[in-house]
């Protein structure tokens, strides 16, 4: 975990603070500068359409041209299909599917095609595309705009799945996904867009499959990713006040996930809590729990515990939505039970 060092360095060392939206925009600028094969397509992504609904692609079509940055019809199969086709002949398209729930209309392109063409062609072709999707509960957008579906994509051989929680990782993972020879699913959390962090260095890349240890600890390991990795850090701070030392791992990549880092941590702490916003049954946490139980059989001090979103569609009403996803308080409670 050489990376842990960079990830845990005090923020004071860095002066410039930028948001995740800014980090993603910079990643695009730098990637498109570095490689003219990088393309961007999706609904509203070009400047005449305001550079994306949250402004992530602002300025890109003006700077790199409407041929490389294209707003599309509302047609996710056509969007992903176009990305796949262009990638087969050397381009590196980044497709935006706006909200993760809309990937449900494009699953054929993603799963039957993007993920499989390399294998089915016996390695003759490859699909170096990145598909960005935003999601997350917490902004009252209800049952069809907030789902986390990372477990689906992670279950498909041929796809890589990442979910950054900081501006540096957003930048570094987007650059890594764009450079990657295989199709990558890039998950963004809506609530995190405005959160600030140290500005990444130009060219910074985060290796896909490498976790970050956000906080070191000895009593239990909390594994999470995306927004709940931030909640986990808040929880760890509170736990520390109560004398419980939690190690917090932000997976960053879910497929492949950093087994080495997680196993090393749990081997040390003896306790594991996995936290994600997707509902618990058949969620990504199950894979992590099953693997850790298998590898560290007989060496755990307590059963591996999982926390997930409620088993229901994301509800609209504020108090329900608040209760839907695990938060720092619930993480603290679960950690305390584990350590009791």
């Amino acid at each position: 975990m050489t990376d842990a060092a960079t990830q845990t360095r005090p923020q004071a060392e860095k002066t410039a603070q930028i948001t995740i939206v800014e980090a993603l925009n910079r990643a695009f600028v730098d990637a498109m500068e570095a490689d003219e094969k990088v393309l961007l397509l999706g609904e509203d992504v070009a400047d005449p359409e305001d550079g994306g609904v949250v402004g992530i692609s602002k300025g890109l079509s003006t700077r790199f041209g409407n041929h490389r940055v294209r707003s599309t019809p509302i047609a996710e199969q056509a969007i992903v299909g176009a990305a796949i086709g262009a990638s087969l002949i050397g381009y590196r398209p980044v497709a935006e599917i706006m909200l993760m729930n809309f990937s449900t209309v494009a699953m054929d392109m993603i799963v039957n095609h993007a993920a499989k063409l390399r294998f089915m062609s016996g390695g003759q072709t490859g699909v170096p595309i990145t598909i960005r999707m935003m999601t997350g509960s917490g902004i009252a957008s209800g049952g069809q705009h907030s789902d986390y579906l990372e477990a689906w994509f992670s279950h498909v051989a041929g796809l890589k799945v990442v979910a950054p929680s900081t501006p540096e990782d957003a930048y570094g993972l987007l650059r890594a996904c764009i450079d990657d020879p295989d199709p990558c699913i890039f998950i963004e959390n809506l609530l995190l867009y405005g959160s600030k962090g140290p500005a990444p260095q130009a060219g910074h890349k985060v290796e896909i499959g490498k976790a970050a240890i956000r906080r070191e600890g000895s009593d239990l390991t909390i594994v999470s990713y995306s927004r709940l990795a931030v909640e986990a850090q808040a929880a760890a701070a509170r736990l520390a006040e109560d004398g419980i030392s939690a190690e917090v791992i932000d997976l960053r990549s879910i497929q492949p996930w950093d087994k080495e880092a997680v196993l090393a941590s749990v081997a040390k702490t003896g306790r594991l809590l996995v936290v994600h916003e997707a509902t618990k049954p058949f969620g990504a946490g199950a894979e992590i729990a099953a693997t850790v139980n298998h590898e560290l059989f007989g060496r755990l001090k307590a059963p591996v515990h999982r926390l997930g979103g409620a088993f229901c569609a994301v509800p609209f009403s504020r108090p329900l939505e608040t209760a839907f996803a695990p938060d720092a308080a619930r993480i603290v409670d679960a950690a305390k039970s584990l350590c009791a």
């Binding site: 509302i74 088993f311 009403s317």
Partner: protein
């Protein structure tokens, strides 16, 4: 369109009444949401009131509609009660959906408001199923599927229109062409000169109509509804209109053509229709003003009702997942 479907005076007043309610409700929504007292994503339909008001004037109470996130006008025009609507938008227990669905998933089967979807294009395939059910029931109910111009480019539109045509389903596809899909202008996304032209590919009637003119809109809707009711199958209506505000409340709408927008607002169908009713002696100023005042009072009452309604209990997270609440795994909440 023949004249046999021209609206009479009573129908025009019916349409006006619905329009007044819709317009009043949109204005109040934007005002109230701006205060932060109610927090919800809001997709203003201001400028598009004529369409569902005219369509609903031609529908029966027991007909069905499926609509979309920008669909509160469609629902109010179809008879959704204001109080439960507002309670739902405010996320309260007395909302149509107990606050669980929210404005994007308002549902009210008692008035045939069966599905509201947040997924572009998805109102159409489900509308077919309602229409199939009516066909099997042997009653002559009609289903209307509302959707936008942008939605005419997604796969579900195509699959739904083809199936409806092959099965001769009693369904009317009403495209509210407000010239934008989110930030994207019509021609940037849509290849068809007119969306109505796409009907040729399904061998069904396709009509482009001025969706801001209640006379034309009503006639087109009434004819299509009569065809559907009579077992003659689906119609595609492209109703031309304009969205006065951005896609969603809070969006800066810098992507909209300023001149086009100003011209559209200058031609606001509401005052135009209002003035015409008076000019044509269909109603006098006092009658119309009274309707508007009643609308305001009803909205006052609905908002008050909504804000007084309690938030749902978090137990609701376990309810309505399945018909049998006990199936929900306990430990998911641990």
């Amino acid at each position: 369109m023949t004249n046999s479907y021209a609206p009479d005076a009573g129908t025009l007043m019916d349409i006006f009444r619905r329009m007044a309610l819709l317009k009043g409700n949109d204005e109040r929504s934007r005002k109230l949401l701006a205060t932060g007292r109610v927090v919800a994503p809001y997709y203003s339909y201001r400028g598009q009131e004529v369409i569902p008001s005219s369509v609903s004037a031609a529908l029966r109470d027991d007909d069905y509609i499926c609509t979309i996130y920008r669909g509160i006008h469609d629902m109010l025009a179809k008879g959704m009660p204001l109080k439960q609507l507002w309670a739902e938008v405010a996320g309260r227990e007395d909302g149509t959906c107990k606050g669980k669905g929210g404005p994007m998933h308002l549902t009210y089967p008692a008035k045939g408001i069966m599905v509201t979807t947040g997924i572009v294009g998805s109102s159409m395939p489900i509308a077919n199923g309602l229409a199939w059910g009516s066909q099997l029931d042997g009653n002559d109910r009609v289903t209307v599927a509302y959707f936008g111009d942008g939605a005419s480019n997604i796969g579900a539109f195509h699959e739904a229109l083809n199936l409806a045509a092959v099965w001769k389903l009693p369904v009317v596809f009403v495209c509210q062409n407000n010239r934008y899909g989110e930030h994207t202008a019509y021609a940037t996304a849509t290849s068809a000169k007119r969306i109505a032209d796409r009907a040729v590919g399904y061998d069904i009637p396709g009509v482009r109509v001025d969706g801001n003119d209640p006379h034309a809109m009503y006639a087109a809707a009434a004819e299509a509804i009569a065809r559907a009711r009579g077992g003659e199958g689906p119609t595609l209506i492209e109703a031309m209109t304009f969205r006065f505000h951005g896609h969603v409340m809070g969006d800066a709408d810098g992507y909209m053509d300023k001149a086009e927008k100003q011209a559209a607002i200058a031609a606001d169908p509401y005052p135009r229709f209002r003035a015409q009713l008076i000019a044509d002696n269909v109603a006098d100023e006092a009658t119309l003003a009274k309707i508007e005042a009643d609308v305001e009072a009803a909205i006052d009452e609905a908002v008050e009702f909504a804000l007084a309604s309690p938030f749902p209990s978090t137990d609701e997270l376990r309810r309505d997942v399945f018909a049998d609440d006990s199936i929900v795994p306990e430990e998911s909440f641990a």
